[in-house]
Symmetry: none
């Protein structure tokens, strides 16, 4: 084992004293001559040790006065960077821009800058992105949209590291129940419930559904769908539920067969989101199924797509801007230590348009 140079003794001694708190920022360190005697080294060697500590920003020297523990040491750990990181799955996710807009407004109003990264819904990319944020240690807080929240997350250690370091963090849109980080989300179960319940209310009895399998929102919306059916004592047919993943979604319009098979014998369809609903509308158009005459559709998110779709869609609203604002507001409160429970769930409301046929009109 290689022996370390003598000046490292002093460097480590000072560092450990600072870390243990036995000497605090602003306090005066022993003078060079004192250290010379204490460690039985020459003054030059002591000065060399001190120059290293100075370079690391641990101490500050004042000629004629002494050497002091730098109060910038805290700054190094973090805080005061006035930087907030936002990690999200997709940029071109259709509701993302609104969410980001909400966040940006709050964040920039509070004097913070916004740093952004995308995971493309890949856990590997998520690992890299969050690792990078932690390594650089340049943010006061983190807002994360979980990646593939429907399946167990392999990056748990990273999230636990965030918790361990006491870095304020918030999940949005979804969350990992096993990680102790608060979340700001749409109440997805209620969203699925309300969508389904509305179709039942207007007289539909056999209702198909399409959900995303790889995120938690899909699971919860499905749970709401199941609850609404069972509450109305309607049977759940597995063959009427289509599970898709993120990759499927992009090319859904081309998979008419797979979709139509699941829609068979049903008069209504709950769609995971507006994108799915639009794809269903297009497929129906090609196969001479009229919406809403032959098939009623209720989707979730109530985005521009719902408004501009060839058949304007009845959709359960996603709070988008509000959700973004809430996530950012709560994070900033956490940074300032003003909040205890930053969790929030938005209660969804249904917006009625032209994609549902009323079957039981009196």
């Amino acid at each position: 084992m290689k022996q370390q140079p003598k000046y490292m003794k002093i460097v480590e001694w000072v560092k450990s004293r600072v870390e243990s708190g036995s000497i605090k920022p602003g306090e005066k360190l022993n003078s060079e001559n004192e250290l010379t005697e204490m460690f039985e080294l020459s003054r030059q060697t002591v000065r060399h040790a001190i120059s290293i500590l100075e370079k690391d920003g641990i101490i500050e020297k004042r000629q004629g006065s002494g050497t002091y523990i730098s109060n910038v040491f805290n700054r190094k750990r973090m805080e005061n960077t006035m930087n907030i990181a936002v990690v999200t799955t997709y940029v071109d996710d259709y509701i993302f821009p609104s969410i980001l807009k909400g966040m940006e407004e709050v964040i920039s109003d509070a004097g913070y800058t916004l740093q952004i990264a995308f995971t493309h819904n890949s856990v590997e990319k998520e690992y890299n992105v969050i690792k990078n944020i932690l390594d650089r240690n340049m943010v006061d807080g983190i807002i994360v949209e979980p990646t593939k929240s429907g399946i167990p997350n392999p990056n748990v250690e990273l999230y636990n590291e965030i918790v361990k370091r006491n870095i304020p963090a918030i999940f949005f849109n979804s969350y990992y129940p096993e990680i102790q980080i608060p979340h700001v989300v749409l109440n997805d179960k209620v969203a699925g419930y309300k969508a389904t319940q509305y179709l039942i209310e207007v007289g539909h009895t056999r209702i198909s559904a399409i959900f995303k399998s790889d995120d938690r929102q899909g699971h919860l919306r499905y749970a709401g769908y199941v609850e609404a059916l069972s509450e109305a004592r309607l049977r759940l047919f597995d063959e009427n539920v289509l599970w898709i993943d993120t990759e499927d979604l992009r090319g859904l319009t081309l998979e008419s067969k797979r979709v139509l098979k699941r829609l068979k014998d049903t008069t209504g369809c709950i769609c995971y989101n507006d994108e799915v609903a639009q794809a269903v509308v297009k497929i129906c158009g090609k196969h001479d199924i009229k919406v809403p005459k032959d098939l009623s559709i209720v989707s979730i998110d109530n985005s521009d797509i719902a408004v501009n779709c060839e058949v304007p869609l009845t959709s359960v609203a996603h709070p988008t801007i509000k959700l973004g604002k809430m996530a950012a507001t709560n994070l900033i409160k956490m940074i300032k230590g003003e909040i205890l429970d930053a969790n929030y769930e938005f209660e969804p409301e249904i917006t009625k348009r032209n994609s549902v046929k009323i079957l039981n009109e009196k």
Copy 2:
């Protein structure tokens, strides 16, 4: 005048040699013993000078080998933050997510983080945002979408400060000709020209147009419109050109009268972008004007809106992702000092859909 310490002689000598280029990054500096003789100082003093240069990131020492000029001598100025700032107008601008996606891909692949801010097309917000970036001095480069580029920019000093500080910067989507910062844009004049030229080609002779007045893209697209008309020896009717600003755009659907007045007597209409075109389609729908039977529409940008509009729109394509990638790629090249001319103009291509009636079918 206070005399400076002797070691500063060496520090300044090296700095000036690096700045003048008489010694280049990677090259070996004179050895400590050589400097000792050259400056007639002790080796300790020489070493002190060198330690200062090392702290400033100007040189790197290798034991047993020598002292070398750091090849990242820019690091001193920028601290090599590996941070790139993107300043854009709107988050919810419909083509923005794609552009951002392209940028993010390149930026994160190159190991940089992306910091983002929005101006909401307000010059005041633009001032604050860019001032903040300059004050914090925490970025290696800046990508900016100019605010209200159609009117003289009051933040010229800020942009000049960027140039003065030698911070690599690039404009996208538009630019201010009076500022010496390269731009990556769609060739908007050609876009306007191609849209108009296509309508002329298929037999339209009286063509109206709607342009945005407060950004340069609007002016250039108008210029292309004018050129196509004059090339075909068609008259330009001022009463058929509607100028709108950003505020107008949002509520355009409600201003049927204002729009219809300009469309009078025309068989075709050039729209500033897909958003405008969609509003025109909606207005036409309400007033029993059939598209494309009664009115042909060509828009610019070829976004999702063009695809999903109730009448799929013939549109001149905006490169979005490609443009984002190009802007980011060129900026990174600038940061690395690999590029001289970072300007780029994308040549637009027209995508034909169902919003144009062919009048001269043979």
